[in-house]
Homo-oligomer: 409 residues x 2
């Protein structure tokens, strides 16, 4: 039967890899095989670049056990890219679609990718080429519009919640030597990732103590006063800060010696805010500080991927192809939350145009009024996404032994 | 019966926290309770500082389930410190020991702590105060002499093996945008941690491609040639580099703008080599590079602690108190490898003097002749320590689809 089918499917992964984008690809492939309509299932090598270069692989020839294992394989197994298409590129895409009888194009990515997908859909429609284009949301940044949250976010949130809690226990133990720690998280334009570090906080004295998001201008004097206040109270401070932090002039906060590069979309490539704050604390408060910057490890690692996230990534992949076969196009699959407690979520659809190139910032009600931490509402929003409670640790009661000596001179 | 016992035990944790030092404390406490001889079990709050300040807690009053949970709790539950003792401090320590009838002093730490423990043992012996002092090896740096390896190392090795593998898959997927990644690991004087990143390497093209250890002087021209060569071959390069890297003049390799601080022992506090290499690659090779620096997260996180490491940490704690009760003093417990395949290890003892203040460097035969990677022998040494194989991932075969078009202009 398959040999007679000419409605071929092409899958592309785009932008920064995540722990769960392969789970989406797995969902697309498994569902496509179940749909009677889909002929060949192709993957584009390195995203849209693979389409342009006609560099396609045949995913029907992969062992089913390999496809199944994609559900727990991090990064982007087909390869990804960051590439801004020129006008000529779009017509080349259509040529490739026509040459390979592509009837379904599913692209997993962030807001740049959704723009690319939208333009492809528009051009195909203009040229009367029948290809259905569906976007699969994918971004650790969690900054896509309309969808409740983005696959990839739950896992980076779980990673950071655990990493900051553990690293906070480290500071708590060795605060007499290393009292201040700055943890720099990812987040280009929105602070969702940085905010997620609060999910590991166990009590007033535990990490993180302070959280700074790019949704609020960074004011050095307020930051220093905040750090000083926590330090005076607990003798230690763990600060989580977003790489995309900007000052009141809208400039990135960064170590002044660092070069800021730009990617193909003209987005600034960030880094250095952690080192900058380490120097600020050392110089202005004369308190020793250090910086952890887990970088790409946080976005891609399977170390503590969220099961909810892995499952939802699969689900949006599955929905993308079934909606495409059902006749939809120029849409992105969304996650629609029905309830937070118990957590229930289902898929929906939105026009690509409504998500392309737009950024969902952390909501005002998710940030405290001092602009140095998240709100309880944020925690309620984010908690279900990290896939269950964090591992439980021992906390000693530390019952004091009576002193027999006078204090040390 | 316990009320009549006056042979009290004091436990201290010292230096940087790890994922497994609490497992050692658990082993000490559980075994001490089983020994008929031990009366009170005290913990020093923040290591030797707690002893000096007579800041002790009663560990017999902790709930047994809390003690048991220490086996899977990261960081140092009693608190730790980095503190260099003065001559007066040593006599104060003895005063505290006498005031609380301390007959057993168990100190978990690295080579500085073993020096402290040794001096305490010596002074006690001079002053005819009967306290038995046993050191418990603890350091992610794996740089203690005599012992085959150090509790704490297996877990940081597993963390880095997984983190670098995952982060390497990230680079592999997005190399067209981000071709070079520098991952800066911990390691003050020895490259054991950096070397462990090789345990995640799956094949020639996979990460890490290059590893630079402080055991070999860093030569920028060789480094750049190495990076260029891998880049030309695979289009991407993942470099793992030790924070303690030094150049041919013995100076730390670092971003020139960074301040180098020193800790209480006069050891340099490092950082910045990752950023330095990012700039070097960008400027000299004109290839885009970025840096991940997991910092304290790598040393303390329970995310992927090695079960072998957790078990051995417990074992050395248990051995410490049973050896002390058996009459030993001024010694450190060691791990003695009986066999690598199947892996078998037991505990031994060594004079504290033989480990105090000394550093075990990565062995010559563990480093390749180009000084840019580890040897197979190192992998055989380290593999059993990380507690089983890494999670298995899917690898697509990527069977090419035949091209129908001419190449893109």
């Amino acid at each position: 039967m398959r040999e007679n089918l000419t409605e071929n499917l092409l899958i592309a992964q785009s932008g920064g890899p995540t722990a769960v984008i392969n789970s989406s690809v797995c969902g697309i492939i498994v569902e496509a095989k179940q749909q009677g309509r889909v002929g060949s299932i192709y993957g584009a090598v390195n995203g849209i670049l693979g389409v342009l270069n006609e560099d396609l692989v045949d995913l029907r020839q992969e062992d089913p056990s390999t496809i199944s294992m994609l559900r727990n394989t991090p990064s982007a197994a087909l390869g990804s890219c960051r590439y801004k298409l020129s006008k000529d590129d779009y017509s080349r895409l259509l040529q490739v679609f026509v040459a390979h009888n592509i009837s379904y194009f599913i692209c997993a990515g962030g807001n740049d990718s959704m723009d690319t997908a939208h333009r492809v859909a528009q051009l195909a429609s203009e040229k009367k080429h029948d290809v259905r284009v569906i976007g699969v949301p994918k971004t650790v940044d969690n900054d896509l519009m309309v969808t409740d949250h983005c696959p990839g976010y739950g896992s980076v949130a779980r990673f950071n919640a655990i990493a900051v809690r553990d690293s906070g226990l480290d500071t708590e133990a060795i605060y007499t030597a290393d009292p201040v720690k700055i943890i720099e998280t990812m987040g280009r334009d929105a602070g969702w990732i940085t905010a997620s570090t609060a999910l590991g906080k166990e009590g007033e004295g535990s990490a993180p103590h302070l959280i700074y998001l790019p949704e609020r201008p960074f004011v050095a004097t307020s930051f220093l006063a905040d750090v000083k206040s926590i330090y005076d109270r607990f003798g230690r401070v763990v600060v989580c800060v977003c790489e995309g932090l900007r000052d009141e002039q809208g400039e990135f906060v960064r170590a002044s010696t660092k070069q800021i590069d730009t990617d193909k979309f003209g987005h600034a490539q960030l880094g250095g805010v952690g080192d900058y704050l380490v120097n600020l604390v050392s110089e202005k408060l004369k308190i020793k500080a250090r910086c952890d910057k887990p970088g790409t490890i946080q976005r891609v690692s399977m170390m503590c991927a969220s099961q909810v996230d892995l499952d939802e990534a699969y689900l949006v992949g599955e929905a993308a192809i079934s909606r495409a076969v059902g006749g939809e196009s120029d849409k992105m699959v969304t996650l629609v939350r029905k309830s937070s407690d118990p957590y229930e979520c289902e898929t929906g659809l939105v026009e690509l145009e409504k998500v392309a190139l737009r950024t969902k910032k952390v909501l005002n009600e998710f940030i405290n009024k001092e602009s140095n931490f998240v709100s309880e509402q944020f925690l309620e929003y984010a908690r279900p996404l990290i896939g269950g409670p964090l591992p439980e640790y021992a906390h000693l009661e530390r019952k004091k032994v009576e002193r027999h000596l006078s204090a040390r001179a």
